[in-house]
């Protein structure tokens, strides 16, 4: 079921009608409609056979916090009964150990399922024990990475006493399975999402027009940009040979830049919009990442919820752990800045190693993760040097020109990263990087594209993509300057709005037809 399809629209319509109808009768059970819709969606879109994995994950992450809460109560009782302070301390320490054991067991269970389904086969293949990365025939459940991370955050937060754990399994299951997030995130936090799912909503307070506008904007990015480019990118990078011209590589990577952003952020826009129709606002996942001024900034704007997850559950805990503090103390003898930043840099490398693995177990993903980690770590370690250089050169770091320069530089750095992300063979990634610098060969550009099967019509039709990109760029630029673009559009005269919507719809219709149906170049087949 595509998000842009009659079946999804009907699914939404039925779910919304049921939701608000039940809300009128009894808002206390309104959430049950959301749960029913989520489970139905999971079976419709994913494979129902894999539902058991999600149920298992939900069961573990529901039971563990409850067990922790019970242990807290027992700990309190025993401490109250303890004769002296030393005994109270001993009781506390003993229960702390047990609590940690429960946490570790829950995490192992969740990540164990994820690792087994997502990595085990690839690992066997890489060490030569499996015929192919999919030879075990394991079914990867829809959204497993997302719901696993989301549920784990719930367990850890509960462990840290952030909130009372949810006692009702079905309510917890709704948090794990909420259908708009299950396809591609965002990774929500219980404290933000949980209450919204469970409280009653009435149709009145829902910003329908804004939601629809956002849904359309997402569809434009996904269909008019991402889907239009994916075929060409594939043709370019599945034919990497030693003499691939750098100009073709750069073209492919730039297309990937647009495709990746259009696909991911467009899809997120669509599910965020769907969720908000139920009065449930999910966490934001993108904030115009290509306007970042540094790679670290980029990762605060791209896949935001993965970044904050990593920050809260990997980066901080690891960076303030005892060994890292000791490392910082030792490094500070070499310099105060080094002492302060070294633990952060090491933690950061770990984070990006995991981010790389999150995308897949293949070596090129690991290389991509480490590239990001190393660049950010170096930028931080060398920050004082950069500051001194800027001061010496009298660079006005507050000026608009400097900002534009930083944005351009970051875009470049991000794109170099895409070499490792998109080119599925690590050796090929390096080869493409080399050819970008040493064999640009612009005169071979069109010849090469023709050779790998990119048709003239593919290039010609990219004009639609260019129009969509220009539109997204302008909207993003306005949003960067704090303009409420949606609000402006919704205030337009209704005829103008109708024409504007027609134009956007037209672009989506044409590109959707092109990408799904005109594969053989039969755009004008005259049936």
């Amino acid at each position: 079921m595509d998000l842009l399809s009659l079946s999804f629209v009907l699914f939404l319509a039925v779910s919304l009608a049921a939701y608000y109808l039940v809300g009128r009768i009894c808002s206390r059970v309104q959430w049950l409609v959301l749960l029913a819709a989520s489970l139905a969606f999971y079976c419709l879109v994913g494979r129902w056979q894999t539902l058991a994995y999600m149920l298992a994950c939900a069961a573990v992450t529901w039971a563990a916090p409850l067990a922790l809460a019970r242990m807290d109560a027992r700990c309190k009782e025993e401490r109250a009964a303890a004769p002296d302070r030393a005994a109270r301390r001993a009781v506390k320490a003993a229960w702390a150990r047990r609590r940690r054991a429960v946490l570790v067991a829950a995490l192992l269970a969740c990540f164990g399922i994820l690792a087994y389904l997502k990595y085990w086969n690839v690992l066997l293949y890489e060490v030569g024990l499996a015929a192919s990365p999919t030879s075990l025939g394991l079914l990867l459940p829809l959204g497993i990475s997302f719901y696993t991370f989301q549920s784990v955050s719930y367990v850890v937060d509960a462990y840290n006493g952030r909130f009372e754990p949810q006692g009702n399994f079905l309510k917890h299951l709704l948090f794990v399975s909420w259908f708009p997030q299950v396809i591609q995130g965002p990774i929500n936090r219980y404290a933000d999402l949980g209450p919204q799912l469970l409280e009653g909503h009435s149709a009145k307070g829902v910003p329908v027009r804004r939601s629809l506008l956002r849904f359309g904007y997402g569809a434009l990015k996904k269909y008019a940009i991402a889907n239009m480019l994916v075929g060409t990118i594939d043709k370019i990078f599945s034919n990497v040979t030693p003499d691939i011209p750098g100009s073709v590589v750069v073209f492919g990577i730039l297309l990937y830049s647009a495709q990746q952003y259009g696909d991911f952020s467009g899809g997120i826009d669509m599910v965020e919009a769907a969720s908000s129709l139920f009065g449930v606002d999910m966490a934001e996942n993108f904030r115009r990442p290509y306007f970042s001024v540094s790679l670290a900034d980029f990762w605060r704007r791209w896949h935001i919820t993965l970044g904050t997850w990593m920050r809260d559950y990997v980066f901080f805990p690891f960076a303030v752990s005892r060994p890292m503090r000791a490392l910082g103390a030792r490094a500070s003898r070499l310099g105060e800045h080094l002492g302060r930043t070294l633990p952060a840099c090491v933690a950061n490398l770990l984070v990006f190693l995991i981010v790389g693995l999150w995308h897949g177990a293949e070596p090129h993903y690991v290389a991509w993760g480490l590239y990001n980690g190393v660049v950010i770590a170096l930028a931080d370690l060398l920050a004082p040097a950069f500051r001194r250089a800027n001061a010496a050169l009298r660079v006005d770091t507050g000026s608009r020109a400097h900002r534009v320069l930083c944005v351009a530089r970051t875009f470049l750095v991000v794109n170099v990263g895409w070499y490792f992300d998109r080119i599925y063979d690590f050796g090929d990634s390096l080869l493409c990087l080399r050819n970008t610098l040493t064999n640009f060969a612009p005169q071979q550009f069109f010849l090469w594209l023709a050779q790998v099967g990119v048709r003239d019509s593919d290039l010609k039709f990219m004009v639609f993509t260019a129009v969509a990109c220009a539109f997204v760029f302008v909207v993003s630029l306005l949003q960067e300057n704090d303009v409420d673009v949606d609000g402006h559009i919704l205030r337009w005269n209704c005829v103008v709005r109708g024409l504007f919507y027609s134009a956007v719809l037209g672009l989506i219709v044409i590109t959707s037809f092109l990408t799904q149906n005109a594969a053989g170049g039969f755009m004008y087949a005259n049936f």
């Binding site: 079921m1 595509d2 842009l4 399809s5 009659l6 079946s7 999804f8 629209v9 269909y223 209704c494 005829v495 709005r497 109708g498 024409l499 919507y501 027609s502 719809l505 037209g506 989506i508 219709v509 044409i510 959707s512 037809f513 799904q516 149906n517 005109a518 053989g520 039969f522 004008y524 087949a525 005259n526 049936f527």
Partner: protein, 443 residues
Amino acid sequence: METLVVLAVIVAVDALCSFALEQYGSLSSVMWSEYRAAAGESIDTVVVGSSTAQRAFDPAVLDATLGTTTFSMATPAQPLDDSYTAAKQAIEDHHVRRVILGVDYESLSNENWAGSHVAFARAKMDGESLSQAVADYWKLLVSPAFFGRADSLCALFPWGYNHVKLDPGSVVANVRERLSGDSTLEAAAVVNGGWTYYGNGYGNYDNVIDYSLARKDTSVAIHGLDDFKETCLDQVASIARLCREHGVQLVVVVTPRPAFNVLVYGEKYPEQMALLQQVTEQEGATFVDANLLHAETYSPQDADFGDGEHLNRDGATRFSQAFAGVLQALDAGQDVGTLSYSYDNWDQYLASIHQISAVVSRLDVDGGGSATVTAQTYTGTDVQVEYRFLLVDKDGGTTVLQDWSSSDSCDVPRGSHGTVMVCARQVGSASDYERYCVQELPH
């Protein structure tokens, strides 16, 4: 209120775009308008299927031999579920006795084109009552090929699917044609240059295939090579069931092509087609692969084909005559399976080809820059082929790179420009070539 205005504007723009951009005079609309025009006449046989069926069966030729009244409901890229719709309509309207379903490999291996679906449904809607039209279109939107995909929403903007070229000239011409008062039939003749309508839903072209372009002309080069889709086989089965339930005879016919376009599939062809034959016969229908008919029943001539997949008008006439004979045999209770080679004995079919159907070539350039042209012929197993390679420069002057020999590859001297002409003939022949192709050299 505001929302209504916005919606009204969107609908108005949609209608306007459909008027201007949607192809006027599509072949689907010709078929449906002619079919409706024949409402009062008796029709006892219909042909359904895609363009290969549309251009293989001439109803007049069939009827002259068989005394039947045949109408062709085949349309370009007609998906099998639309063939079902057409057959069902004809059974309801005319109680036809026989349905001929013409297919080729791609009818069963390719995803349906949403564009032809939409064009077919729109053409069918044209002469229907509003409620029937809405019901038909709704059925399209919720059909399995559309429902879960963007097409199910985008097809609310049908101009996106079967539109004219998006340049001002084509759009103006389309609008002018629509306003001119021409019927869809007249418009179709204008739009499809070289196409002639012969009546009973049948129209065809007169162009003749250029065998030297076979490399680009094979279906595999155009569509890729996939296995048959389960859903497509199911659709054939459901057409067969529809016919059986109504006591209608169904004949599933794999339409004729030049031999090279059968051989290009290799072992896939007998393997996959056997599946189709099995499904067809299981459901009680008759199966005929025209490509496998013995030479005494049907043997196409070189000039019978318009391209690698379609017959031209003369070819269709000849094939229809031969096929009428097959139907006569069928009517006489004969087992038509005996008229053709079988997929189980593929070698017999391969040995039955006594001609070079086509020669194609490929160019390999190694790291050092030296180029080799390699030829491949599509022919029978018993045919002995020899090759000659000529260098053709820009002015048309030729030099022999390698004279007649059994070697199928030839090194091109460094610094050569122009093209290499690859000639193939059977050993013992004295002709300049039986087939040839042209290999472009890199600049």
